[in-house]
């Protein structure tokens, strides 16, 4: 340091700086190595393989192809088809019933945005209610409200499926009870998952009744996470800020938008980012409740990819599908990352 100050002309060469950086980079990478190694083998390798599969016509007979055994190569190697799989996916040339890529994508985005919106709004409102001063039963409510989140998602999904049963499901029975009480006559035999007629017309006519049903189930499932995150952030806001605002004559509404909202934002944005990815790929709810129906209109990209593998056995197309999904999510995440700077180092 001092030597460098004395003779500013003798700066270390670029190569030396790079070598120095390389040497100091070794330690950190040693910390990363165990996780990196496991993920390299278990996650990166299959993903790389998947990229290769996406450019081939990989079908069930090619499953005996083994990269590590050259003897299987000539007989079982799938034919290379270039971008044909991708082309077929986006131009709807797959021989699957009710397949329309752009409709599925539009539905997937609608599904994500509407879910995350309700999760966040409900989550924050309930967190605010739970955080208000002098509330009775706060601990009980807090304990009860994490239940939807704590239940295994697959079990929740099957429970909701059962509740939407047209004949004896809980929802139709509940409507029957309401009819009894209020003397109304709502239909009690609605086939929630099969009705093709959209309940809301106009620009929303691409959403069947089943969409609102799975939306309700997933809102039930998703808001507690947002409440938990919001609660943590709310508790970190100093009480004095609100007191000062009260003295200045701020209304409750103003306090929310000028104090609460900006201060919980740093906690909410990464949670929203995570929630967006989770919802975008929410397999359990769609697959087990609506199954993509009616006529594939509540299909999302991951359930379609799953069906390509397990029902159609089109491994190559499914691989290409996953890559398409990946790029869509990558774009969403990069946009989010611009906003949240989640990858920046704290001491950068």
């Amino acid at each position: 340091m001092t030597e460098a100050q004395r003779s500013p002309t003798r700066r270390p060469s670029r190569w030396a700086t790079f070598r120095h950086q390389l040497r100091t980079s070794l330690g950190p990478w040693l910390y990363i190595a165990p996780a990196g190694l496991v993920m390299l083998v278990i996650t990166f390798f299959p993903q790389l393989f998947q990229v290769w599969m996406a450019f081939t016509d990989f079908r069930i007979r090619h499953l005996r192809f083994n990269v590590f055994n050259p003897e299987t190569w000539p007989q079982f190697a799938p034919p290379f088809v270039g971008f044909a799989n991708f082309y077929k996916i986006v131009t709807n040339q797959l021989a699957i019933e009710n397949y329309d890529f752009w409709r599925i994508l539009l539905f997937n985005l609608t599904w994500t945005v509407s879910n995350v919106f309700f999760h966040v709004v409900l989550g924050v409102i309930i967190a605010l209610a739970l955080n208000s001063k002098g509330l009775f039963g706060r601990r009980i409510y807090r304990a009860l409200f994490v239940l939807p989140w704590a239940m295994p998602g697959y079990i929740t999904a099957l429970t909701w499926r059962n509740m939407y049963d047209p004949r004896f499901g809980a929802i139709n029975q509940l409507i029957g009870i309401v009819n009894n009480w209020l003397g109304t006559s709502f239909p009690t035999d609605t086939r929630w998952m099969d009705v093709a007629q959209p309940p809301i017309g106009g620009p929303l006519s691409f959403l069947p009744l089943a969409f609102y049903c799975v939306l309700l189930a997933n809102v039930w499932l998703g808001w507690p996470f947002m409440t938990v995150v919001a609660t943590g952030a709310l508790q970190a806001i100093p009480e004095e800020l609100y007191e000062a605002a009260s003295i200045d004559g701020a209304s409750g509404w103003q306090k929310f938008w000028k104090i609460t909202a900006p201060l919980i934002r740093p906690a909410m944005v990464p949670a929203i980012m995570l929630g967006t990815i989770w919802t975008f790929n929410q397999f359990n709810v769609i697959y087990f409740i609506s199954g993509g129906g009616p006529f594939g209109r509540t299909e999302i990209l991951v359930t379609q990819a799953f069906k390509l593998v397990y029902e159609q056995r089109l491994y190559g197309v499914a691989a290409a599908f996953s890559i398409v999904v990946f790029f869509i999510l990558l774009i969403i995440t990069l946009i989010n990352n611009r906003i949240t700077r989640a990858t920046e180092a704290y001491y950068a």
Partner: protein
């Protein structure tokens, strides 16, 4: 004046209570439904009326799940003694879930520490690569993973068909979230504490192990919980990879009940409840950590 304030507070309390009771009803409705399914002795798929306690309610389905062998999961279908029992399924599930947690927390904390504390070549790219992996759909990677894990042999058995194989696969899946969440939390631990420890003669590893880790209990708890839940409920991969019924897990038993023909709903509901209990208990146990574990990193970062 005084009574006016009091009345306002009371009205506010009533409004809040009404709102929160409505939320409670919404939250509890599906849970009570599955509870009543489990109590129904007729084992029908849907009760004919909406009742919390169905006619002739009994705990038979719980008794059946806990005490009788699972006829669907036998090594030799003609011999009942080779069938799986609840306790053995539970043992496998616990082993897989705890193994997944350990892998995610140990490897994840180590990597997260590097990403949080050092400037080095490839840091941004590496961090982004791990985040990106959260969003890779895994459906089509099952086939290559199957081939790969079959190649790795333990003794004369492929790693794929063993429980450690499952743990590694699940652990790897849980790592991106673990790293992401832990890194966010480590960022909030003041660097001055580490500097002080180094002046006192601690080495880099001691700083990590003695200072960072204990101060990050909430984030570690969240990581353990999430990875435990992943291992506890996953069945698609397990169903594809495992061959020997003696290694099957509870989630797989639940899946097997959703057979092609009649689902025994009471037993299904009973097993669902039994499977949810440990998760819910851990959840409540860790609840005070979860709030700060999930949000602290974000508040600061």
């Amino acid at each position: 004046m005084r009574s006016q304030i009091k009345r306002k507070a009371l009205l506010r309390q009533i409004a809040l209570q009404l709102f929160l009771l409505a939320v409670t009803a919404f939250v509890l409705f599906p849970l009570l439904w599955i509870f009543s399914l489990a109590l129904d002795p007729r084992n029908i798929d849907k009760p004919l009326e909406l009742r919390l306690i169905p006619p002739g309610a009994s705990l038979n389905s719980f008794q059946k799940i806990l005490a009788q062998p699972f006829r669907l999961l036998c090594r030799d279908p003609s011999d009942v003694s080779t069938c799986m029992t609840f306790s053995r399924l539970l043992g496998n599930s616990l082993l897989v879930s705890l193994g997944t947690s350990v892998i995610a927390v140990v490897l994840g904390a180590s990597a997260a520490y590097a990403f949080s504390r050092f400037q080095f070549i490839g840091r941004q790219a590496g961090m982004l690569a791990f985040i990106v992996l959260i969003m890779l759909p895994a459906s089509a990677t099952l086939a290559p993973l199957y081939v790969l894990l079959t190649q790795i042999k333990i003794g004369n058995e492929p790693l794929r068909a063993t429980l450690p194989g499952l743990m590694v696969a699940y652990g790897s899946g849980a790592l991106p979230f673990a790293i992401w969440n832990l890194k966010g939390y480590f960022d909030t631990v003041p660097r001055e504490l580490e500097e002080a420890a180094i002046i006192d003669g601690a080495n880099q590893f001691q700083v990590f192990y003695r200072i960072i880790m204990p101060l990050s209990t909430p984030a570690l708890a969240v990581t353990i919980l999430f990875s435990f839940m992943a291992g506890w409920t996953e069945f698609i991969l397990a169903w594809t990879f495992l061959e020997n019924p003696s290694r099957f897990t509870l989630a797989m038993a639940l899946r097997a009940m959703q057979g092609q023909f009649a689902t025994p709903w009471s037993e299904f509901a009973a097993l669902s409840i039994l499977m949810s209990i440990p998760v819910v208990v851990i959840f409540f146990g860790l609840q005070r950590f979860i709030v700060s574990g999930l949000s602290m990193g974000a508040v600061k970062g």
